[in-house]
């Protein structure tokens, strides 16, 4: 204990001498290195934490702590009656950051918006592929090339988006990281100096923090943007200390070397909660892990067989053994933090005896099936193999022999998309924009059954009608009702066994105030303060 307090005294002394002039510094022990500082070519949350969240803004933004949309760089917007035209009215007087070799000469305007989208859409744009291998995967994954017909400048502070069909999630898409607004003036300057790739190394945005420096795989430094349009953030400096090992992150947090950290090891959470100097915030992640049956394959084309198998699998045991408590049993295909989550759905209870009866009734005897388990850890699934082993022993109890199969991750994703796939596959999804369509439309639509993104190859007319109607309506209340009904159909038809939603923990020093966890899983430090 004495050694510990001596250490604290020592580190405090170091901080006092080093942190001269009383500047407030927030240190975040991040879990990995960002891939780059231009958010659009990437899909990893770690990269967004270091790029779009501190440095950039979007036209519209997620209200902190929710998946609701609020104004960002656009002060307000109008949607035409047919739902095909979105007109954004831009905020005047917003300043871009200055960095070494670039000082903006003008405020943010419509040209920046056009540039930010045009470079992702138009192969002729100079920034379409500004470095070898750059491609805009998120823009494509969100179907933007199909949805967006044109982006036009009406005047300096007005931009008009024309869509090919009514698409309610579009507004939420505009709040996503790939939709971050970059400075066209900066991009042009880099292009003229033939160093376009630097847009990915030294970011210039309008966000609450200005980029200062990045030491690869070690430290990222930011300083507060004094001109931020929502007001300057309370701290003066923000440091990301890249610390891949969760045990080390925890130790650094406890020693006061950083004030906040993501992704603690599940085994450490009790110890972190017990620490008097720390608070641990938690929230269900915006994700789902599922076991998708091949509904085109006998006997899994029989809904009663699927339901029986669901009842044979003990999901609570998976939560305890695999998630070590850092998760909750899922009953719906969308997570509980998402709007339109249907609380009234009743999950098929764990009941091996009843399951066996149902299998007998369906005429299924001595069933042998494959369970696919992915080889990697994912945010929604800490250990798929162990999950599969638990399922194997559960299924044995109802007379079903399960073989576990696995492939290298890339292969796994590819092979599991094959409609001829033999067996049920463990997989999951992490939400992008908080819209239910991002789960139900992507993972369970008939189009998805065609492309394979719907790993159950389940195409149900009622369900399809409901989600299509919901996607095209812009009336929130109506959409909510439609999605709630869709979840009822889903549960009746049981194309998946919905396994779990993981829980996200965020331990931080008690001195940290104003941190709000995002249901989307990102880490945002605007408005965070440190009490002395």
């Amino acid at each position: 204990m004495t050694i510990r307090s001596m250490l604290l005294a020592c580190s405090a002394a170091v901080m006092l001498t080093a942190g001269a002039a009383g500047a407030k510094t927030l240190v975040y022990c991040s879990e990995a290195s960002p891939e780059g500082f231009d958010p659009a070519p990437y899909t990893a949350g770690t990269t967004f934490d270091a790029s779009s969240h501190p440095v950039y803004d979007q036209l519209v933004e997620f209200k902190p702590g929710t998946t609701e949309i609020e104004p960002g760089l656009a002060e307000k917007w109008d949607v035409s009656a047919d739902g095909l035209t979105y007109t954004f009215h831009l905020r005047p007087g917003v300043k871009f950051h200055s960095v070494d070799g670039f000082t903006p000469t003008r405020d943010f305007n419509a040209d920046d918006v056009i540039f930010s989208f045009d470079r992702q859409a138009d192969p002729k744009n100079a920034y379409y592929q500004y470095a070898p291998g750059i491609s805009y995967e998120y823009y494509n994954a969100m179907d933007m090339p199909k949805i967006v017909k044109s982006v036009e400048k009406v005047d300096d502070l007005t931009v008009k988006f024309t869509l090919t069909e009514p698409n309610a999630p579009f507004l939420a898409d505009m709040a996503m990281d790939f939709a971050s607004i970059l400075s066209k003036e900066y991009a042009d300057k880099l292009a003229s100096e033939d160093r376009k790739a630097d847009i990915n190394n030294v970011p210039v945005g309008t966000g609450p923090f200005e980029f200062v420096a990045y030491q690869k795989d070690a430290v990222i430094r930011y300083k507060a943007n004094p001109d931020y349009f929502k007001g300057k953030t309370p701290v003066d400096d923000l440091i990301f200390a890249i610390t891949p090992d969760p045990a080390v992150r925890m130790q650094k947090l406890q020693a006061g070397e950083c004030q906040i950290m993501p992704y603690p090891a599940p085994a450490d959470i009790a110890a972190l909660k017990a620490d008097k100097n720390l608070t641990v915030e938690e929230q269900p992640g915006l994700n789902v892990a599922y076991l998708a049956y091949n509904t085109k394959q006998a006997p899994f084309d029989n809904v009663n067989v699927r339901k029986a198998l669901n009842m044979a699998i003990n999901k609570q045991a998976i939560i305890e053994a695999v998630f070590q408590g850092a998760g909750q049993v899922a009953k719906n295909p969308i997570p509980p933090t998402m709007w339109s989550y249907n609380k009234d759905i009743k999950d098929d209870a764990y009941d091996p005896a009843e399951a066996k009866k149902m299998l007998d009734a369906a005429g299924v005897k001595d069933l042998t099936m494959n369970i696919w388990a992915m080889p990697v850890q994912r945010p929604y699934m800490p250990n798929a193999r162990r999950t599969a082993e638990l399922m194997q022993s559960d299924l044995a109890k109802v007379g079903v022999t399960a073989n576990i199969v696995s492939y290298e991750w890339g292969e796994y994703l590819k092979k599991s998309k094959d409609p001829a796939r033999d067996g049920a596959v463990i997989l999951g999804w992490t939400g992008d924009n908080g819209d239910p369509d991002n789960f139900l439309g992507v993972l369970l639509s008939c189009a998805g059954a065609e492309s394979g993104a719907n790993r159950a190859f389940w195409c149900d007319k009622d369900f399809e009608n409901l989600i299509t109607k919901a996607k095209q309506s812009s009336d929130m209340a109506e959409r909510t009702k439609l999605y709630e009904q869709a979840q009822v159909v889903f549960k009746e038809q049981a194309p998946w066994d919905t396994l779990a939603h993981s829980t996200v923990f965020m331990p931080m020093s008690k001195k940290v105030t104003g941190y709000v966890m995002s249901p989307l899983g990102g880490h945002d430090f605007y408005g965070v303060d440190i009490q002395e």
């Binding site: 090992d245 969760p246 045990a247 925890m250 130790q251 090891a265 085994a267 450490d268 110890a271 290298e408």
Partner: protein, 296 residues
Amino acid sequence: MADTTLTPGTRRAQLAEFWFYFSENRGAVIALVVFALILFAAIAAPLLAGHGPDVQFRDTLLAKPMTGNAHGHFWLGTDAIGRDILSRLLFGARYSLFVGFFVVVLALSVGVILGLLAGWFGGWIDTVIMRVMDVILAFPSLLLALVFVAILGPGLINAMIAIAIVYQPHFARLTRAAVLGERSKDYVMAAQVAGAGNMRLMFRTVLPNCLAPLIVQGTMSFSNAILDVAALGFLGMGAQPPTPEWGTMLSEAREFILRAWWVVTFPGLAILITVLAINLMGDGLRDALDPKLKRS
């Protein structure tokens, strides 16, 4: 090493001489005993272990060493999911010894054949083989093994193959050098004149006379293989959980290093003791086999 014909009598005499020098080295003898104990532990693991290596006692997670409860006694404590560490270590000894043995046999047989071919035939065969060996040796062994495992897929067998591939150039080089030395000697010439075929000459006449350095290199590779497979396991590319391989156990234990020292300490200690015993034996072997160092 002057006599070249291996009659049974001289072989016994050689063995006696060998044992004489080996037993002079106290460390080597102790190591031999320790190694025998480890070997015994590996073979008798099911009898010695108090628990199965994969049995999880969910109510005794991370139990301290020397604690016990209704399930029995945990001499070295339990790991994060309640498995008895001592039992896992005992079963793990099988993997480590098997790994060392397998790697040496594979690397030795491939390396010796390549070295014999290169040394005996010379010319372009020699050039090609030895150039390839040079290329393999240009890469740090662990890095190359890592890439090999990435190609073959993580797993114990693949890790062993990868390490054997990386080790065999050493055997090839040694054999080649020894063959070159022996080739011009009278007894080989005599056998050749007497009409012995290439195969017979290479394997029956020349090879037995190059054995000493190969044996020394073999023991070194044995211990290095155990270290390297453990290292691959530690990096997550070797044996996969729940295999109780020592390196893999360490890799799983890493997140507990500041909370449960025993989970980290014992697997490493097991590796160290095994490798140390083998290296000590190797020192003894070298002293006993290498006439040049014998009297220094």
